[in-house]
Symmetry: C2
Subunit: 373 residues, 2 copies
C-alpha cells in the first residue's frame, strides 16, 4: 500500500479553518448558548413567504435543482434591472469568492485585501496558491487609497473590498468606491463584497455598472434576507466575466429548497423593508447598551455593531470570553488594532434585553481578570 | 476601463456545461415533461421522516449550518462503523470530486477515467488544468485492468472508477475492485464513486478500509435516499486523506435543511430497504418493457436501466428524441459504442405504465426517421 501524492499547494497549506462554528463551541462547552449573536445571522428570520415556499418544496427535494438557477437568476436580474446573463448564483458569497479567485488569480500572483478583513476570502486565496498582500485599516475603515496603491504596485490580479465592512461595520459612500473603480489598474478584478449592503445607508451602494468587466458585485440571501442556512449568494457583473464562472462552478451545487426559498424572499420586498427597520433599531439599542457601560459603539451599516472596549486586544478577548461563559455567542476581530473590539450581531428585543443585563457583568469579570493577570 | 486578467487555466477552458437540466429543456420546448426519468433521481422520494425534518427545519433556515457537519458525520461514521474523522461532507459527490482533484492532481498531471464515464468529473479535471486520459469500456463495463495499466504507464495522480457505473449500470464484484486497489501504484488516488451502491448487489461493494490512504469512497443522499435537491454527498477514507479536504472545502457550504434531511434519511434505514425494493422492481419492469419492444436491457445495479437500442448512436439518438418529443425526459450515453443505448431512470408504476405505452411509439418514429434520412 502506498500513498497518494498531494498537490503542491494543498500539501503546503496549514490545516486552518476560517471560523469555528457556534455548534462546535457548544459541544466543547457542554451546553448551548442562550444568545446567538456571533455569526451575523438575521435572528428575525426570513419572510414567512420564504418559509412557506421551503415547506412546500421539502417533499419535492428528490429532484435536483435547476442547474441554470433560471427562475432565481431572472428574479435577481429584474430586481437589479440587469440582463440575466449578468448574474451567477453560488453556494453563498463564500463559494463565489473561491470561484472568483480561481477565475482571476493564477498561483503565485498577488491578491490584495485589508489586514483583518474576511478570513474566508484569505482561505480561498491560500487554497489557490496565490499570494495575499494585506493593507492595514485606517480609522477602522478599509483604506481605499492604500488598497488601490498596493494593487498597482504589486500588480495584483484581485482586489477584495467589503462595503459595509466586516468585522468593523464601517462603510464608504458610493462616490469613494466609484473613484476606486475608475482608478483600477488594467488586469485587476475588484471583488466588492456587499453582503451587508441591504442594511447600509442608500448612498453607500454604488450603481451597478455591467459594462465594467473589472468589478464583481457579491450579494447574499444570508444576511438581511435571513436565509444563512440556505447557502445562496450571487454575483452581478459583465456577461464576459459572469460566463467564466460557468466554466468552473459546481452546476448542480445549489440546493433546491434554498433556491426556492431565496426566490420567495426576494419577491417579498415589503418584508425586507420591515426586517431592515428591526435591524436598524437593534443597532441603536446595542449602541445604547455599549454606551451605558462606558464603551464606544462604532457606526455600523451592517447587521451587527462592533464595540470598542476601550483598551487592547487582551482586554477585548477577556470581555468576549466572559460573554461566552455567560452563554452569549459573539465574536471579535482578530487583528490589531481592530482586535480592541467585540462584534455583536443584531438581536430581537428579548435577546438584547438579556445582552444588556449580561454585558456589565462580563465587563466586570474582564476587568477583574485583567487586573489579576 | 480595463479588463481583468483571467487565469491561464480558465481562459483556455471551453464554455461547456456537464449536463443540460430538464428545466432548461422544458423552457426550450415550451412545455413540461410528463415523465422525469432522465437524471437518475429517486421518484419514490425521501423518507417521510426526512421530509418532516426538513419541514421542521425550514423556519430555522436563518441560521448557518454547523460547518463541521458534526451530527451528520457522526451518523455516517456510525453507519459505516468508522471514526468520524474518516468522513467529509460535501455539496454532492460533484462537489467532492472537484475538491478531490484539487487535492491530488497538480495542473499538467494525468487523471485516468473511462471514455464515456461521468462528464462532471471530466469537467472538474479540466478546471484544475490536469490532463485527462480516457480508457475505453470493455463489454459495457469499466475496464479495470486497462484503467490500472493506464494509471501505471501515465503516472496518473487520480484514477476514477464508478461502481455501479453510470451511464451503463454495470458493476464489478468487490473482489475485482479489491484486486485493483491492491495493485494501485504509489502516488495514485482512487476515487471510487459509489453513488449507486445502495441499489447494487451486496457483493458489489468492497468493505471500507480506512487504513488505505489511496482510496476515497464517494457516497450520496441523491440516489437511493431520494434527496438529490439537498446536495449532500460524503466521502469516506483515511483520516490523513480526509483532513486534506478541510484545507480547501467551503466550510459553510452545506445547507441547513438538506443536512438535517440527510441525517433523518440515514436514520430511517427501513425506508431505504423499502425504496430499494421499489427500485429493483422498477428495473425489472423497465427491462420487460424494453424486451417487449425487441430491445436489450443491460443488467443494472443502479437506479436506472440502460437499454441497447440494437443499432448505432444515430438510431439511439432518434429514439431519445422521439421520447423527448413525447414528453419523456430520458438521457443517453454520449460516446461510442455506449451511445447505441438510452438510459431510463426507475419510475413509479404509473410512470412506467406511461413509458411502456410511449416506447413502442418512439421506436416506430425513430425507425421511420432513420429510414427516411
Amino acid at each position: 500500500m502506498g500513498r497518494p501524492t498531494l498537490t503542491r499547494i494543498v500539501r503546503d497549506l496549514p490545516a486552518l479553518v476560517p471560523f469555528v462554528g457556534p455548534e462546535a463551541q457548544e459541544r466543547a462547552r457542554g451546553r448551548p448558548f442562550v444568545l446567538r449573536l456571533g455569526a451575523n445571522e438575521n435572528v428575525f428570520g426570513p419572510s414567512p413567504k420564504a418559509i412557506g415556499a421551503m415547506i412546500e418544496a421539502a417533499p419535492q427535494n428528490w429532484m435536483y435543482s435547476d442547474p441554470e438557477n433560471h427562475d432565481l437568476r431572472e428574479a435577481i436580474a429584474a430586481h437589479h434591472r440587469v440582463p440575466a446573463d449578468c448574474v451567477v448564483v453560488g453556494e453563498g458569497i463564500d463559494g463565489l469568492l473561491g470561484l472568483a479567485v480561481k477565475v482571476a488569480a493564477d498561483p503565485g500572483t498577488v491578491v490584495v485585501t485589508s489586514d483583518g478583513a474576511y478570513p474566508t476570502f484569505n482561505f480561498h486565496v491560500a487554497a489557490q496558491g496565490a499570494r495575499l498582500v494585506k493593507v492595514p485599516y485606517c480609522d477602522d475603515r478599509e483604506d481605499l487609497d492604500a488598497l488601490l496603491d498596493a494593487a498597482r504596485r504589486r500588480e495584483a490580479r484581485v482586489l477584495y473590498v467589503s462595503n459595509p465592512d466586516n468585522p468593523m461595520g464601517s462603510w464608504w459612500p458610493a462616490a469613494d468606491l466609484e473613484r476606486l473603480i475608475a482608478a483600477l489598474p488594467d488586469g485587476v478584478l475588484l471583488l466588492l463584497d456587499e453582503a451587508y449592503c441591504d442594511t447600509a445607508p442608500p448612498d453607500a451602494v454604488p450603481a451597478i455598472d455591467i459594462s465594467n468587466p473589472q468589478v464583481l458585485r457579491l450579494r447574499t440571501f444570508s444576511k438581511a434576507y435571513g436565509l444563512a442556512g440556505a447557502r445562496i449568494g450571487y454575483a452581478v457583473g459583465s456577461p464576459d466575466l459572469i460566463c467564466q464562472f460557468d466554466k468552473v462552478r459546481n452546476h448542480y451545487g445549489i440546493n433546491r429548497v434554498g433556491q426556492i426559498g431565496a426566490l420567495a424572499a426576494m419577491q417579498d420586498q415589503p418584508y425586507l423593508v420591515e426586517v431592515v427597520r428591526h435591524i436598524v433599531n437593534a443597532r441603536e439599542r446595542i449602541a445604547d447598551i455599549a454606551r451605558s457601560s462606558g464603551l464606544v459603539p462604532l457606526p455600523s451599516g451592517a447587521n451587527f455593531v462592533t464595540i470598542d472596549c476601550g483598551a487592547d486586544g487582551a482586554f477585548a478577548k477577556a470581555v468576549l470570553d466572559a460573554l461566552l461563559e455567560r452563554d452569549v455567542f459573539a465574536r471579535k476581530p482578530g487583528v490589531a488594532p481592530l482586535d480592541r473590539c467585540i462584534r455583536v450581531s443584531c438581536g430581537r428585543d428579548e435577546d438584547l434585553g438579556i445582552f444588556g443585563r449580561i454585558l456589565p457583568e462580563a465587563l466586570d469579570a474582564a476587568r477583574n481578570r485583567v487586573a489579576s493577570a
